[in-house]
Symmetry: C2
Subunit: 339 residues, 2 copies
């Protein structure tokens, strides 16, 4: 089947071509670039919602309930579950998905999991491309769920328009430290397992941190190329600031879910009214541009670098007669890209 037929089928709502195109971008198939080029003008309509949080918070149950809530509102929903910590596809995450029995067989829902393909950069690219395919396929809501804490959350923040951070009471000593980083990327906090006795304390601690934080929203996402544009920062959009809500839920029985759905819609409206939606989109696209630039430049350096120069550099790194920084300068000189 030609790639044009495949993308045309996707745009007309054909389910099997959707699964196939995501496999293409996941495996970096030779036709993936052309497919993305064809689909690209049809993207930009879906609401990308990131859901993240530490292990044990009940993210998967929340995603499950959100998907059902959107189906009741007759919205088409895609779920992309990403595990940056696992090099194995499927597995544990697919196990979680099996719990979503209420949704199986519903043509308005598409569920897919992706695992690490050997590098975070490779995964981030594949996730970005899969989101474009889902967006072009006409889903109203795309729920991007990640397992794990840390850098993966920053990657989500780059990709999602609304970021939900899920907390739960009683996850141990380090939770406070992690929250400090999470403050930066959350648009909505959910305190799940809110029927536990310590839940109120967790919510109160989060609210206090939000008040004390004064953290410039999304400052982690400043880009060198973007910075060089010498214009207003994308995260200093006009209009009133967004007040991050802290919402209690009991995801396993759906308690508090309507409030989460309402907050997501309010955030989407805030992004539109303030102009921040367009600015976040721009920051994401420029980030993709930079990633492509870096990988292409490195490819050129490797292609131009004589094998004996590289071997000599490595020998001098081995015996510590040259620092990695000095070796980099010598390599740039050797390939004619110095200064």
């Amino acid at each position: 089947m030609s790639i044009q037929t495949l993308t045309d089928q996707l745009l007309s709502g054909h389910r099997r071509s959707l699964a196939r195109l995501i496999t293409y971008v996941e495996n970096d198939h030779p036709d993936a670039a052309e497919a993305l080029e064809r689909l690209y003008p049809h993207t930009g309509q879906a609401h990308l919602i990131g859901i993240t949080g530490a292990p044990g918070t009940g993210k998967s149950s929340l995603v499950n309930q959100l998907a059902q809530a959107y189906r009741r509102r007759e919205q088409r929903v895609a779920v992309l579950a990403v595990d940056p910590t696992s090099p194995f596809s499927g597995g544990a995450i697919l196990g979680d998905r099996i719990r979503m029995t209420e949704l199986t067989g519903d043509p308005g829902v598409f569920i897919r999991s992706m695992a690490s393909r050997g590098s975070l950069g490779g995964l981030a690219r594949a996730v970005g491309d899969a989101l474009k395919v889902l967006d072009a396929a006409g889903f109203d809501k795309i729920l991007l769920e990640t397992v794990g804490a840390g850098q993966s959350e920053v990657e989500i923040a780059k990709t999602a328009q609304t970021v939900i951070v899920v907390e739960a009471p009683g996850l141990g000593d380090d939770v406070q430290a992690i929250k400090a980083g999470i403050l930066e990327i959350a648009d909505i906090f959910v305190v799940n397992k809110a029927d536990r006795p310590e839940a109120k304390r967790t919510a109160a601690a989060l609210k206090m941190m939000l008040e004390l934080g004064h953290a410039p929203a999304h400052h982690l996402l400043r880009h060198s190329l973007l910075a060089s544009l010498d214009q207003t920062s994308p995260y200093e959009a006009a209009g009133p600031a967004w007040t991050i809500p802290v919402l209690p839920t009991v995801a396993i029985n759906g308690q508090g879910l309507d409030e989460v759905v309402a907050a997501i819609e309010q955030h989407r409206q805030h992004l539109l009214d303030s102009g921040e939606l367009a600015l976040r989109d721009r920051a994401r696209l420029i980030d993709e541009l930079e990633t492509t630039l870096q990988s292409e430049l490195m490819r050129q350096v490797i292609a131009r670098l004589p094998a004996d120069v590289l071997a000599e550099m490595v020998a001098r790194l081995d015996d510590r007669s040259l620092t990695p920084q000095a070796a980099a300068q010598k390599i740039l000189a050797a390939v004619g890209l110095a200064g």
Copy 2:
């Protein structure tokens, strides 16, 4: 004070110059590069031990106990505690350190915490440089502790020679998924809080995953430059493979610590005997070389790129008439670095 005086003082064991030089590399001080150049030939002696694991596993207590165990063995110990999820320096991690009252005032121990400086790349560089300073300062053991799970662990694996992954029983649903990723980087597993009833089950599950895993050790660390050397992979060293032990501890009272210390020494000996130590060092240095190359190449592109070309590219990204990948190709052509 001249940078030469400062590095000479460090090499002669002067404590205050150590703290000052780490602040230099942390803040990217103009003199930091020269200091590292001077210290570089004196590095390569310390044993770099990474300790990582999910929140709530008791990593900090384990690090505390390990530091004390090494002091009893008359080894000089440095602890570098890194929080990649927090943009705030000090804070929660420093709070953890206050618990280490047994170690305060001991000149054979140096404790420092580092938080994210706005990007994971910037933090990884600063951590790598701080480790070089500590190494040159003559510490026998450097304990590199990270908070959080996910990509930060891969960063540790790149830097540490021996990676300890700390688990604890009963941390929730997602633990299995995270373990799948952790299998790749652990040299030693510690099941802390082993006095809890579910600890035996956690240890048994880990051992079963290790047997089933068959994961090629450290395959996440393959580098493009290294791959282009067309030689034996750094992680396919000669000699018998290392068998990853699973060790129970109760860190708060020191139970099981002697076994962990012994396993760390056995792993160090294995790295030396198999030649893997030199190969891991090489992979780490080449990784630093690549990071420097990438940042220098991006600097050049930005310097050469006419402002109107960048503005046009951004406008076309905004209206989705150009994909980020196509924009990257146009930018490379504009700065004379195409193909």
